[in-house]
């Protein structure tokens, strides 16, 4: 009962955070709501007994992605970020349509899906859908005592192709970012002032978080 209450609590917080992300007019506020949402997702992982995934979620999404978004806002827009944004009204209708369509696809996908074992999906179960709770076979017991080795083995055996492709993609992104930063640094040497040395680090700053993300993942 406590777990269900906790789930409903965190889930509703998550919905609020998601709405805030979409509705906030100030970009930094939107990014903050997004951070809150990521955190709620991490909480959900904890409720599912997957603290390894929760830590990864916080590390990658809050520690890297959110910081990267904030960096992007800082480097590309009015630095103080006061300005509020609103898209052109004509873009709203297609946007809403696409959002509803994606929602429909996701909902039907989740409801109709079956697990590899042929059992119905979690959404149709009444009990708490924890990966590790309940069953007592050696696999779920090893997940309970330490999830990291299980995830590692899965990544390097069953999902190795996806893993390698993701690695390749991130490497390409890093190389591209460095190439872009290099070109712009060579083309426009900054003004020779004290302020210049601070702002000149911005091309590097753009390349670095990308590298950070690649190394972290």
């Amino acid at each position: 009962v406590i777990l269900r209450v906790l789930f409903l609590l965190t889930a509703s917080l998550g919905v609020i955070a998601a709405l805030g992300t979409v509705l906030a007019r100030n970009l930094v506020h939107a990014a903050l709501f997004l951070v809150g949402f990521f955190f709620v997702v991490a909480c959900q992982f904890v409720l599912l007994d997957a603290e390894f995934l929760a830590a990864i979620q916080v590390l990658i999404y809050i520690g890297a992605v959110a910081i990267l978004i904030l960096f992007g806002i800082m480097l590309t827009r009015n630095v103080q970020g006061d300005e509020t944004t609103s898209g052109p009204a004509i873009g709203r209708l297609p946007g809403a349509f696409a959002a509803v369509a994606i929602l429909a696809v996701l909902v039907t996908g989740i409801v109709k899906s079956t697990s590899p074992g042929g059992r119905p999906s979690w959404s149709s179960q009444v009990v708490r859908p924890a990966i590790a709770a309940g069953s007592d076979d050696p696999r779920s017991r090893s997940i309970r005592t330490g999830m990291a080795p299980v995830v590692g083995v899965e990544l390097l055996t069953r999902y190795v192709v996806a893993f390698e492709v993701a690695g390749l993609l991130l490497t390409a992104a890093v190389v591209g970012a460095i190439a872009l930063a290099h070109a712009s640094a060579a083309a426009t040497p900054g003004p020779g002032s004290g302020e210049g040395s601070a702002s000149s680090s911005s091309p590097d700053g753009e390349a670095e978080p990308a590298g950070a993300e690649a190394l972290v993942s």
Binding site: I2, N26, V28, H29, L32, V35, E51, F52, A55, I56, V58, L59, I62, G63, A64, A66, I67, L70, F71, M74, V79, Q80, G81, T145, G146, M147, A148, A185, A186, P189, G190, G192, S193, G194, G196, S197, A198, S200, S201, D204, G205, E208, P209, G211, A212, L215, V216
Partner: protein
């Protein structure tokens, strides 16, 4: 004060105790109430006192000595002052975010301490230590890294919400620095994971105690230790890396616009972070609360000694090691001038990251030679990896200049010909 209590209650789960599992809730509650409310702030207060005393000695003066014997009541007086001062939020500031930023920093600093094994605990059925700590997570190290990655967010929000260009500059510098140095910091812990085969910090300590060989005595472990120390210094914004709050350049950096206890929270978070990285280094590389070349307090536990006594000894040894690290940080601060921004970035990306990547490979060699059964043994492994480590560091210094030299050409024009932009504030000789 209200914000402090908010931040300190955040780390643990709230008091929603179930009747059946009352014991873990009780220990968590005790950790929260005693550890996080009383002991850790107390430690921070006296770290500040110690730093002022130590810095005083380094500069040939006495340091605080008026309030109480040896100035021992000074931190309490300072805390009272911070609490009673008026807390000003700038008119232009983004109020909510402005108030949120120091709380985020505090949460990050406190959560790090939740997985540090301060003592040994008792033995489980396989004669392994259970650890004396708030929560022994199976992926404790990852948790630690994850929550410490929240602090750049706090710095950024503090700098951004103040609507002050110096705060913003400090925030940008802080985020760039913390994101950069986080990578060598994490990579330097990878060898330890490889050797211990676990992410749990208790397990890592246990492995070192059982093998009798602290990780710092292994050549790749030593290199990793050095990298971790440098990167941690940068992670907690201590002096050679204090660019985010460089007072001679950008007033006080990201916390320029903070006053009273909100400033105090940043202060508290900074010193808690120092304490946290000292604990981390002790846990990962110095065998936690054990003596070198043996398994001293644990051997007492194995031969049926009192759990309480063993834990007191272990905590004592642990705190002595932590105190050494903290002193090291004071020492470095009193000695070294500040880096320039370009040096800072080059050092992280061109020296520390490649070094720590190479070190992971050397650590794998150690694993194959020393830890795998049937390998050539510890002595050969030690010699081989020592040669590799020395060679790697030599190559890094020769080939990469440790990233510290200015590359002629493009960068040259950006930097004025002054010798340094940093002023070695604490070392300025005070001869009259």
């Amino acid at each position: 004060v209200k914000i402090t209590s908010m931040a300190t209650t955040a780390p643990g789960p709230g008091p929603v105790a179930g009747a059946s599992d009352a014991i873990p809730w009780l220990t968590w509650f005790l950790w929260l109430a005693v550890g996080f409310f009383a002991i850790f702030p107390f430690i921070v207060a006296y770290m500040v006192w110690a730093e002022r005393k130590v810095a005083g000695r380094f500069q040939d003066r006495i340091g605080p000595n008026r309030v109480g014997p040896f100035g021992l009541l000074q931190p309490i007086a300072d805390a009272l002052k911070l609490i009673t001062k008026e807390s000003i939020v700038p008119d232009a500031a983004d109020r909510v975010v402005h108030l949120l930023a120091p709380v985020l920093m505090m949460i990050s600093a406190f959560l790090v301490l939740a997985v540090i094994p301060f003592g040994f605990g008792s033995l489980d059925r396989a004669n392994r230590l259970t650890g004396f700590l708030p929560a022994d997570l199976p992926s404790g190290l990852l948790f630690l890294v994850a929550v410490s990655s929240l602090s750049p967010l706090g710095i950024f929000l503090a700098g951004w919400s103040s609507r002050n260009k110096f705060a913003l500059l400090g925030g940008m510098r802080g985020v760039a620095q913390l994101v950069s140095y986080e990578i060598p910091q994490v990579l330097s812990a990878v060898p330890i994971l490889l050797w211990a085969g676990s992410l749990s910090l208790v397990r890592i300590v246990d492995q070192q105690v059982d093998s009798g060989l602290w990780n710092v005595f292994i050549p790749p472990g030593f290199l990793a230790f050095g990298i971790l120390l440098i990167a941690s210094l940068a992670e907690v914004n201590r002096t050679p890396f204090d660019l985010p709050e460089a007072e001679s350049e950008i007033i006080a950096g990201f916390h320029t616009e903070y006053s009273a206890m909100r400033f105090g929270l940043f202060f508290l978070a900074e010193y808690l972070n120092m304490f946290g990285v000292a604990c981390l280094a002790t846990t990962l590389f110095l065998g936690g609360g054990s003596l070198p070349f043996g398994s001293f307090p644990k051997s007492l536990l194995l031969s049926g000694g009192s759990v309480l006594l063993v834990n007191l000894i272990a905590i004592g040894i642990f705190l002595a090691k932590v105190a050494f690290f903290v002193f090291l940080m004071f020492w470095v601060r009193a000695t070294l001038p500040r880096l320039r921004v370009d040096q800072l970035m080059n050092f992280a990306w061109k020296a520390l990251v490649p070094l720590s990547l190479a070190n992971v490979l050397i650590a794998a060699v150690w694993f194959e030679m020393a830890l795998r059964p049937g390998g050539p043994g510890v002595l050969w492994a030690w010699l081989a990896t020592a040669v590799m480590v020395v060679l790697t560091v030599y190559l890094a210094i020769k080939g990469l200049n440790l990233g510290l030299k200015t590359v002629p050409g493009a960068r040259r024009r950006l930097i004025l010909p002054e010798p340094t932009t940093a002023i070695a504030a604490p070392t300025a000789t005070t001869t009259v």
